[in-house]
């Protein structure tokens, strides 16, 4: 049953999808290593830092006090930096 389904899908879907996928992967295969590293580090940086621009009210909502350490925006560099270093160095 699974074999039949596999053959059916291969004959119907592969000719449709392969012409779309192959150029994408040929392009990705040709990218130099520094560009992947840059893309990943940019994703990490954007993923970690956008929240630093949130309003104070949104960050402190529900906090029992307004103590400085409870400002979650200040936690972000502490969390982000080790990850960035790992992806820059390894």
């Amino acid at each position: 049953m699974q074999e039949l389904l596999q053959r059916l899908v291969d004959s119907a879907a592969l000719p449709l999808l392969k012409p779309w996928m192959d150029p994408i992967h040929a392009f990705l295969n040709g990218l130099p290593p520094w560009s992947w590293r840059l893309a990943v580090c940019a994703y990490l940086a954007i993923g970690g830092l956008w929240a630093a621009f949130l309003k104070r009210e949104a960050v402190f909502r529900g906090a029992p006090s307004q103590a400085r350490w409870r400002d979650l925006r200040l936690w972000l560099p502490l969390i982000l930096l080790p990850y960035l270093l790992l992806y820059l160095l390894l």
């Binding site: 992947w36 993923g47 906090a63 029992p64 972000l76 390894l90």
Partner: protein, 520 residues
């Protein structure tokens, strides 16, 4: 010194039994705080951020990771660490500041409940079936992993190992609900870190140093050229090329996992304030930094010490058997139990919550014309906890029939994670998304993922194409939700209040309305 008849000496056995006894005692202690179904399922919304943060990490890292994660590191090298680094940090920050405030303010118990309020019953039912089935399968796999580990190293019969785990986890989850689960997770994380740290330290000591480890493995030949690289070429013979890691894992799978896995986010629902809920997720992002070092480090050390293991998954059991002195073996075993139990208890408590909230309550309401009483739900919650763990224990031996169960689980996960994320994301951010769009997006996305799983090996540059399947099914699902929603009437604005970013962030009236609904 006296032996227990296996590789474990008396001192080790003492450490393990002390640990198991303490866990049970802690569960019994927290049972005194369980007075209602809200206490049992959501810890009465009383949990502090540090406990939830530790619980999220330790629930996420289970015994499967301790064995198979190290095994995958043994086989594929450092790239395995992406699952805890790139596959965690951005997603957790996003979840902390986008999804958590939503879940928190909408006052829901489960993700299907949230999606049900946002989209309607069809989407809720679809999600309940998918997640309950998935979590029950995972429970059986976890119990089987325990049986294999204990059977390999100690020579225990597998049935004994399964039912011992069932008894201990079942009893404290039955008694103390989510509070017991989270508080035992805190202890379990400490034990897991100490035990895994000890194993890492000893194995590195045996190798010599980190640079000796790198030198030993790298000098084996060109096939090890990428072994210590996090990002691998797109055409490298690995399941983890950089494009799959960035787009499939970083963008889709990790965001979907942390924003929609009931076992992870249920802790967030139990936080004592919205700030605690957000802080807990950020704290988990910080703890995740150490996981690859503790889990995969021993796998890499085993690759240096035992280069010819037939089964990579035996890397950690082999290190435990050969390197650890008396007493420390018990500690590492306790760490293994900690990792196992913290995942089993989480999945157990979450499956129970989902079945009660998304299946039983709506069905009872439809048949009886009124909601079930709280006492009724608490009684049912405890009954289901016992029933499900016994069911998973009975099903565990069947896992042995599947030789590639871990890959099967990953593939199963990739079938619905992309579509779930697409529906959730548009539901939260786009007021125009409607019931028809949500249901069609889920259905088409799951079908697309199934199709891509069948053709993936010929379509993508990977033998295990689940990362690419997740990414493309996410995009297809996103497009389907958007297209169908545009072609069908928009949802009334009154039904979106409190459930869409624009209305939740600024609408105090909606909050009052939701609170009122919940109180009713």
């Amino acid at each position: 010194m006296e032996t227990t008849g296996s590789n474990l000496i008396f001192l080790d056995a003492l450490v393990i039994f002390f640990y198991l006894g303490a866990t049970l005692a802690l569960g019994a202690y927290f049972s005194r705080y369980v007075k209602s179904s809200g206490d049992f399922l959501l810890a009465g919304k009383s949990l502090p951020f540090w406990a939830i943060g530790m619980s999220i990490v330790v629930s996420d890292i289970g015994a499967i990771d301790m064995v198979s994660g190290a095994g995958a590191a043994y086989r594929f090298g450092l790239a395995q660490a992406n699952f805890d680094w790139l596959g965690s940090m951005p997603a957790l920050v996003f979840v902390a500041f986008v999804f958590v405030p939503f879940y928190w303010r909408s006052g829901v118990y489960t993700l299907p409940e949230f999606l049900g309020r946002r989209y309607g019953r069809g989407v809720r039912g679809f999600q309940t079936i998918i997640w309950t089935g998935f979590m029950l399968s995972m429970l059986a796999v976890m119990l089987w992993t325990s049986a294999v580990f204990l059977g390999t190293v100690l020579g225990w019969p597998r049935q004994t190992a399964i039912w011992l785990t069932v008894a201990v986890v079942g009893v404290y989850t039955f008694a103390g609900g989510l509070t017991a689960v989270v508080m035992t997770d805190v202890i379990q994380m400490v034990i897991m870190f100490v035990g895994a740290g000890a194993l890492l330290g000893l194995s590195l000591w045996k190798v010599g140093s980190v640079s000796a480890l790198v030198h030993t493995i790298s000098s084996r030949g060109p096939e090890y050229a990428n072994y210590f690289r996090l990002l691998l070429p797109n055409d490298a013979p690995t399941p983890y090329p950089w494009s799959g890691i960035l787009f499939g894992l970083g963008v889709v799978l990790s965001t979907a996992y942390f924003s929609s896995n009931q076992a992870v986010i249920q802790r967030v629902f139990g936080a004592r304030s919205e700030w605690d809920a957000k802080a807990s997720v950020l704290l988990a992002a910080l703890f995740k930094l150490f996981i690859p070092v503790l889990i995969m480090g021993p796998g890499l050390a085993a690759a240096a010490l035992y280069p010819h293991l037939k089964d990579p998954d035996s890397a950690v059991p082999t290190l435990v058997r050969d390197l650890l002195p008396p007493g420390l073996t018990g500690l590492v075993f306790a760490a293994f139990f900690a990792a196992l139990m913290s995942s089993v208890d989480s999945y157990l408590n979450s499956s129970t919550t989902m079945l009660i909230t998304d299946a039983y309550r709506p069905a009872y309401g439809a048949l009886a014309g009124r909601p079930p009483s709280d006492r009724h739900c608490l009684f049912l919650g405890r009954g289901l906890t016992l029933g499900l763990i016994v069911l998973a224990g009975a099903a565990a031996p069947f896992v042995d029939r599947f030789t590639t169960i871990y890959v099967a689980i990953q593939t199963l996960f990739s079938l619905f994670q992309g579509p779930t994320l697409a529906v959730l994301l548009l539901g939260v951010l786009w007021p125009r998304a409607n019931h028809a769009g949500g249901f069609a997006g889920l259905l088409v996305g799951v079908l697309c993922a199934g199709l891509l799983n069948l053709t993936g090996k010929k379509l993508f540059p990977s033998e295990e194409p689940f990362l690419f399947v997740a990414f493309w099914s996410f995009l297809v699902s996103l497009g389907t939700v958007a297209a169908v929603s545009w072609l069908t009437p928009p949802p009334p604005e009154s039904s979106l209040r409190g459930l869409v970013w624009r209305f939740v962030a600024r609408d105090a009236e909606a909050q009052a309305l939701l609170r009122e609904q919940l109180e009713k």
